[in-house]
């Protein structure tokens, strides 16, 4: 898509982009400002950007003690943060281990019923979570999976696996099979071909799918709440602890939001090279 831009177009584009950035980034910016204020300055009328910044919210979250209007409040947000990281990383890893070979099978080795199986896998993503969750609590109880990380990681596959499967599958499909065929003819097994040729070629697709799955796993809320005890809750549940009977601690919620975005953002920035390319379903290479 190469073309020359007129001066007017350049200006209009810049203007449009500024508006877009404003719309999407302003709330984040505002949350960042709130995280540096006390509840009192947050609730000022009219709102103002002039305030004395304080790190009290972050300090409280990290030390686990917050002084609120009624009493001091003990919270374990760092524990929640660790749970989120652990659950998201292990779930996405497992989903990659299970999903990438399956995606490869669907893309390369067309077989009887492959479309049906692929669709069935995808359709798990459509099932309303509440629908399966409630009977699941019963079965988990009986199987001893209630309140275990293993049980949670398993349920998280509902979020991660279909997403990875479908994005990576498209990527595999769009990579020309010629190189793989050549490698196989040279006498290598399918597994060696898969590992040495297909996987590296699909790298960006896998990275991008993994990152999206990570974000969706990170944002999940209901699974851990229903299936696990307090020490296994992610940040999404943990941040609600700042809504207390004696008032909403907006400053601390804002700080919690900022802290919960940071790991994902760092990951996205680190993988930025792959992210956009990886979601192109491989067509660049085609």
């Amino acid at each position: 898509m190469q073309h020359h831009q007129s001066k007017l177009e350049t200006v209009l584009r810049a203007l449009a982009l500024t508006l877009v950035v404003l719309f999407f980034m302003f709330p984040i910016f505002w949350i960042l400002l709130m995280s540096l204020q006390t509840n009192e300055t947050i609730l000022r009328v009219p709102p103002s950007v002039v305030f004395e910044p304080t790190l009290a919210n972050y300090k409280g979250i990290i030390t686990g003690r917050l002084e609120t209007s009624a009493a001091s409040l003990e919270i374990n947000f760092l524990g929640n943060l660790w749970n989120s990281i652990f659950l998201s990383v292990t779930s996405v890893t497992l989903a990659l281990v299970l999903g990438v070979p399956a995606a490869y099978a669907f893309a390369r080795l067309k077989f009887k019923g492959s479309e049906d199986i692929a669709f069935t896998l995808l359709s798990f993503r459509f099932a309303p979570p509440l629908l399966v969750l409630l009977p699941l609590t019963l079965y988990f109880q009986q199987m001893g999976l209630a309140d275990t990380y293993i049980g949670l990681i398993w349920v998280y596959q509902l979020i991660c696996l279909p997403l990875i499967l479908w994005i990576v599958r498209g990527y595999f499909e769009d990579i020309s099979p010629d190189i793989e065929n050549a490698y196989r003819i040279a006498g290598h097994s399918w597994f060696a071909t898969f590992r040495k040729i297909a996987l590296p070629l699909a790298g960006p697709g896998i990275a991008a799918a993994g990152l999206l799955a990570f974000i969706f796993a990170w944002n999940n809320f209901i699974f851990a709440l229903v299936l696990a005890s307090a020490d296994k809750q992610p940040v999404t549940v943990g941040a609600l602890a700042f809504i207390t009977a004696s008032g909403i601690q907006y400053g601390q919620i804002a700080a919690a939001v900022i802290m919960s975005i940071t790991p994902t953002l760092a990951l996205a920035l680190y993988a930025q090279k792959y992210l956009v390319e990886g979601l192109s379903l491989g067509a660049v290479k085609g």
Binding site: F23, S123, L131, L158, W218, T264, L265, L279, A283
Partner: protein
């Protein structure tokens, strides 16, 4: 030693025949997910019962009665209509906006790449928490957005608290959270389009807007469909944003499927109705996705044929 291992694995490889290989590869994934089928079947069973946990003595099979009742239940039709409105409004706007933003960022410059990652930040904010922050920003007393509105002369805009603007408000938050998802998928698609067709068209003197309709859009179709599919299926099941912003109110303005089913289960413990509602929702998503997948496969074939 390595020889024996080698021959061993070779034998194993032969054991996994070419025909069985794809099943072996996809089976673990399928098995892990199939565990979910058991609770799913249980949920179907619940939906065929008169089952309210606070009245255990009245529990009995009533077969399709929960479903039949929906036909004469105005609350159900309201739920259906609100859910569809919400889903189509959000996905429609998000597709348009996402496409627009992707077009703005299509050049591979460093600045564009950084912006595209930064724009993902709303997606990284858990919707339940994002909604809480928006609720504060739209507070008529000290919300920053209301302050901006008063600056341009709009007083007393009630956002989620008024039936006339509640839908607009939650749709706006949904757009804020999820447009980046569509943007990043479409951006990937746009950047992967081959250049030849555009060069040829430019040589033929085809105007740019025609190039967009005749070349860009058709070739982008698989990406648009993927994005629309994933979003539509999630959007029709929206819960976090709506529940956190308005709890389904004011009145019955925003009682979408998951909000109704959630209240039915967790508050009323009316398991039968809750499960039946969710089954209807599941059927809708299954239907939509079927149509999409068929088109998706066809379009991908075509798009690949063109390159």
């Amino acid at each position: 030693m390595s020889d024996s291992v080698n021959s061993n694995t070779k034998r194993k490889r032969r054991l996994i025949s070419r025909r069985a290989l794809p099943y072996v590869l996809s089976l673990p994934a399928l098995l892990v997910c199939a565990g979910i089928l058991v609770p799913f079947v249980t949920a179907i069973y619940y939906s065929l019962q008169r089952y309210r946990m606070s009245q255990p003595w009245a529990r009995e099979m009533n077969w399709g009665e929960n479903y039949v009742k929906f036909f004469s239940d105005s609350d159900f039709w309201n739920t259906l209509s609100v859910s569809l409105q919400y889903a189509f409004l959000t996905v429609g706007f998000e597709l348009l906006l996402g496409l627009g933003v992707a077009l703005l960022l299509v050049r591979r410059t460093r600045v564009n790449n950084i912006i595209s990652i930064l724009l993902l930040m709303p997606l990284m904010t858990a919707p339940a928490l994002a909604a809480l922050m928006w609720k504060l920003m739209t507070n008529p007393g000290f919300g920053i957005l209301n302050y901006f509105l008063t600056l341009v002369g709009i007083e007393d805009f009630k956002w989620g608290a008024s039936p006339s603007s509640a839908l607009f408000t939650v749709v706006l938050v949904d757009i804020w959270v999820y447009t980046p998802f569509i943007m990043i998928l479409l951006l990937a698609g746009l950047r992967s389009l081959p250049t030849q067709p555009f060069e040829a068209a430019a040589l033929d003197g085809v105007p740019r807007w025609q190039q967009f309709y005749r070349i860009t859009l058709p070739m982008l179709m698989p990406y648009l469909l993927t994005a629309a599919l994933f979003r539509l299926l999630e959007s029709i099941q929206q819960f976090d944003i709506i529940y956190a912003m308005t709890q389904g109110g004011p009145g019955d303005t925003l009682t979408v499927f998951q909000v109704e089913a959630y209240l039915n289960f967790f508050q009323s413990t009316n398991v039968g109705r809750s499960a039946a509602l969710l089954m209807v929702l599941w059927a809708i998503t299954f239907f939509i996705s079927n149509i999409f997948i068929k088109n998706w496969l066809r379009l991908r074939e075509r798009a690949r044929g063109e390159t």
